[in-house]
Amino acid sequence: MHEFSIVENILERALAIAVEHGHLPVSRVRVAIGALQQVEPEVLEFAFQAAVQGTLAEDAAFEWRAVPARIACAACDAQFEPEDLFWVCPECAAAGGRVLAGDELVLESVVLDET
């Protein structure tokens, strides 16, 4: 249920931006969610809709995009997208590796309603 902590962080940042811009209402937040994050986007969205009640982001849409995982093989440094939870390099069959992408949880932008 750490989705609620995550949402709190997103909302806090979005509201700070709204206040900086003359208390404009927030109409949308855009978030990038890495495939390796153990975060369920639908739970995030649900938590977000619950958290925004009574704030400048009350009518904000929660928009997210998935970022696929990308791994660098620890043995041969080949880059690949893992096919399941056990990462196996398609070049040399070594297990594991270094995460290049897919571990992010990023607030990309906040859209304010100027109308």
């Binding site: 249920m1 750490h2 902590s5 995550i6 949880l105 607030l107 990309e108 932008s109 304010l112």
Partner: protein, 219 residues
């Protein structure tokens, strides 16, 4: 109007975790974050470690639980300084709570700070507490498939403790499968078989902690 932000959602936590490191590293205090499901034996592992390391290496403890001071009372009984954090239902510790708990500890050079996270195999993994090392604990009653079900923890753990191995004759836990899962998720990560009840493996656990020096303050 779209305002570009592009920053980590947990940026505030990451900054506070860095503040924890900035406080502890100059002191030469190594910090361990213990993550497991509830009831896997984290507190008992800490009790055994305090006994094993004795006066030669002081352990100080931060206990995280949704409620009660039961774990802190157990640790206090060993003589180790301890602070209990109650998360009021929260499923994980965050760096701000650790930073606050540090105010109540009198850490000295060479001390080892052990943080027992809230029992949970998912949420604590996402929150850096400023630790140097992460320890994942699994007890044999939980099943050998746990690494596969909770891969993120086993990919980032610096040590995996397989606890309660005295119960192996009574449960269908396949140790080889468990080790295979861990090895596939993070090749080379050490796995220690421990029974706090019989004492088997406790020395290896204590040795691993003892070997942590300020030089390990890198992550």
């Amino acid at each position: 109007m779209e305002i570009r932000v592009v920053e980590k959602v947990l940026k505030v936590n990451d900054e506070l975790a860095q503040a924890v490191r900035d406080r502890l590293r100059p002191l030469g205090v190594a910090t361990v974050n213990m993550i497991s499901a509830p009831g896997s034996g984290k507190t008992t592992l800490i009790e055994r470690a305090v006994e094993a390391l004795g006066a030669a290496r002081r352990i100080q403890v931060i206990e995280g639980d949704p409620d009660t001071t039961l774990d802190a009372e157990r640790i206090a009984a060993t003589g180790a300084p301890v602070v209990q954090i109650n998360t009021a239902g929260g499923c994980h510790l965050e760096a701000n709570l650790v930073l606050r708990a540090l105010e109540q500890l009198d850490l000295a050079p060479g001390d080892l700070l052990v943080i027992e996270n809230v029992g949970n195999l998912v949420c604590p993994v996402s929150f850096d507490l400023g630790e140097d090392k992460r320890v994942a604990v699994v007890s044999v009653t939980e099943g050998h498939d746990k690494p596969a079900k909770y891969p993120k923890l086993f990919r980032c753990a610096d040590l995996v403790v397989l606890n309660k191995i005295d119960l192996l004759p009574h449960v269908d836990f396949d140790v080889a499968r468990f080790r295979e899962y861990v090895e596939k998720l993070q090749p080379g990560v050490p796995v220690l078989d421990v029974s706090c009840r019989t004492g088997e493996g406790v020395d290896a656990w204590a040795d691993w902690l003892r070997a942590l020096g300020p030089a390990d303050a890198v992550r």
